[in-house]
């Protein structure tokens, strides 16, 4: 049985997709992120705005469409997220 993802896990999935799974150099489109991170359009828009505002993602306009790339800060955050996810998992918890 699959369980609901926490907000933190959704952010982790979006950043992971933006880091490891982008289709080209310019980054991933919203549609691509929606499909890969498995999240609705309404929800991902708010999260992406938040991540761009905090400097974890870089936004660029390519052929009239927004593309998202992970930033240097985003990579560091993802590394910290993975480490502390394991730490919390050791206590049987989800961050």
């Amino acid at each position: 049985m699959s369980s609901y993802r926490t907000h933190m896990q959704i952010i982790g999935d979006i950043l992971l997709t933006a880091r490891d799974d982008t289709p080209d150099e310019q980054g991933a489109s919203i549609t691509y992120l929606i499909r890969k991170a498995n999240i609705s359009h309404g929800r991902i828009s708010k999260i992406l705005n938040n991540l761009v505002a905090q400097g974890l993602l870089e936004q660029s306009n390519s052929c009239g469409a927004c593309k998202y790339k992970i930033s240097h800060v985003g990579r560091e955050f993802l590394q910290a997220y993975n480490t502390f996810n394991k730490f919390a998992d050791g206590f049987g918890l989800i961050i």
């Binding site: 933190m8 910290a80 480490t83 730490f87 998992d89 050791g90 049987g92 918890l93 961050i95």
Partner: protein, 212 residues
């Protein structure tokens, strides 16, 4: 002998609580995770509780020289530890710990003004036991979901702490027995088991928050 062993336990508890608390706090500052914030509160409380008891005993050894820790100091230390155990249990989404009725809530604190420190200590120890047992059960269940071996160590650590609390409570029924030494040894073993998974976290790869 018991007094000395208890002093070591309190020192180990303080150090383990402080280190896990600091790591949780670093995690919270770097990720903003509420779970890591609750773990920070939990382990800082556990560390603070052990520190108060260690300080009380050390002051008695070097200053007061009565051979036993002040009852109110021991009760305070155990109460603060229980707050920490509560946050561990709360992290496992404990949902209905307190009674919902306002009447029950209002009379719930009345007995605390009517009974002695020994009784309060017994009540706190039994609450600690319930919270620790709950945390241990939830951790074992999470092991079945994730199959992460460190979860077993944490669950065993929480069980050992719970069993130590139980024996410590039972010691009031049979004083002057070996139960207290066994209880303290169980707690030390439990704290060490809680600490082992923390040593496996690769913190050296993390570039820490510069504002920390």
């Amino acid at each position: 002998m018991e007094f000395f062993l208890e002093n070591i336990l309190n020192l180990v508890g303080f150090v383990v609580g402080l280190i896990i608390g600091i790591i949780s706090y670093i995690g919270f500052r770097n990720t903003g995770s509420p779970t890591l914030f609750r773990l920070t509160l939990a382990f800082f409380s556990i560390g603070a509780g052990f520190f108060i008891m260690w300080l009380g005993q050390t002051l008695d050894i070097f200053v007061y020289k009565t051979g036993h820790i002040e009852r109110w100091v021991q009760t305070l230390g155990i109460a603060i530890q229980t707050v920490g155990y509560f946050f561990i249990a709360f992290s496992h989404t404990i949902k209905s710990f307190f009674p919902k009725s306002n009447y029950l809530r209002s009379i719930g604190v009345v007995p605390l003004f009517l009974i002695s420190f020994i009784s309060i200590e017994n009540i706190i120890r039994s609450i600690s036991f319930i919270l620790l047992a709950y945390g241990a059960i939830e951790t074992i269940l999470s092991y079945f979901a994730s199959k992460r071996k460190t979860a077993i160590l944490v669950a065993c650590g929480l069980w050992a702490l719970a069993f130590g609390e139980f024996l410590g409570w039972y010691y009031f029924v049979f004083p002057q027995s070996i139960l207290n030494v066994v209880s303290i040894s169980m707690k030390i073993a439990g704290l060490i088991m809680l600490f082992i998974p923390v040593t496996k976290v690769p913190l050296t790869r993390i570039k820490f928050d510069e504002n920390l």
